[in-house]
Symmetry: C2
Subunit: 155 residues, 2 copies
DNA sequence: CTTAGTTGTAATCATAACAGTTACAACTTT
DNA sequence: AAAGTTGTAACTGTTATGATTACAACTAAG
């Protein structure tokens, strides 16, 4: 089972907001055109990012902007904002191990720590990359051209 | 989105096979009683573990046994055997980033490496724990009592 | 004040994955 | 031949995802 695309959609959304900052109004429709998904998906994503304190969205007029320094937003922040594990761990566990069996009784004590450590390793790696890192790579690769974006490119 | 419970079910299955080795025949029905799931789920899990070369299953007579030294089976082996990402990565990516947009064009080159690194960190941590490690903890916690298992404990 | 554009959210729909369950052919030992 | 087991197919129910439509609330511009 894969981790949902909400995470990469959210990163893409943030990159749009930063990349086009000051030149274009980043509405949900515009971002949806760059990401290639329905605008409602972007609105929900922006809602999650807003709840996490990463962006602020202009009601009515439209357009989103960063609420924090891009150097202080890590991929882990985005991951946690969008992959709502909400109290749950990344790994799901079968729910009814038999308490009358030694293995069933001990599988949680024996395995939980390992699963938590693996999740922690993933999250630690995500924490090492910031939005600033990513936007610098985009800027380096996209060159000095003015930031523009034709919508409806591949639908 | 969580990683499916197939992984922990498979680990539980392997622990049963090792723990009851030589004392009880570990059929899919028996293992299902310890894990707390339907026997067909165990058969499918055993099929995946067999395909990965981790266990061998006796057709007809019933019962499964390890095909390798427990010290040489890591959680990563089990993870790859059961979470059939089959060519795919752990993170799923939105499928239609707009190639006419700089961000849409560069989101893959910029982000793919980070996602791969995060997945590698998770897998590297899983690789550090062997089935031998886990079974030793079970043995230590379960004490010297003879290995038995009453089925149907919590269903 | 009206209009246009946008956000936030609800409601539906289709699809896919998962897990439970039943059923049954094929196989092995007794 | 009989009993027990595996491997697999088929069907069901549940959950998550993503697409889509619709609409009330909001803001700025004219």
């Amino acid at each position: 089972m894969q981790i949902s695309s909400r995470f990469t959609i959210a990163v893409h959304t943030l990159l749009c907001i930063v990349y086009f900052d000051g030149t274009l109004k980043t509405t949900s429709n515009f971002i949806a055109g760059s990401v290639g998904v329905n605008p409602v998906i972007i609105r929900k994503t922006l809602g999650q990012l807003k709840d996490a304190g990463l962006v602020s969205v202009e009601a009515g007029v439209g357009g989103a902007s960063l609420a924090k320094d891009p150097a202080s937003i890590t991929l882990l922040d985005v991951f946690r904002a969008t992959e709502s594990l909400g109290g749950d761990t990344l790994f799901s566990f079968h729910e009814r191990p038999n308490p009358k069996c030694p293995v069933g009784r001990l599988v949680h004590p024996v395995l939980d720590g390992e699963l938590a450590a693996a999740q922690a390793a993933l999250e630690e790696r995500l924490r090492q990359t910031t939005l600033q890192d990513l936007i610098e790579r985009v800027a380096a690769l996209s060159g000095p051209a003015a930031p523009t974006c034709e919508e409806g490119g591949s639908a």
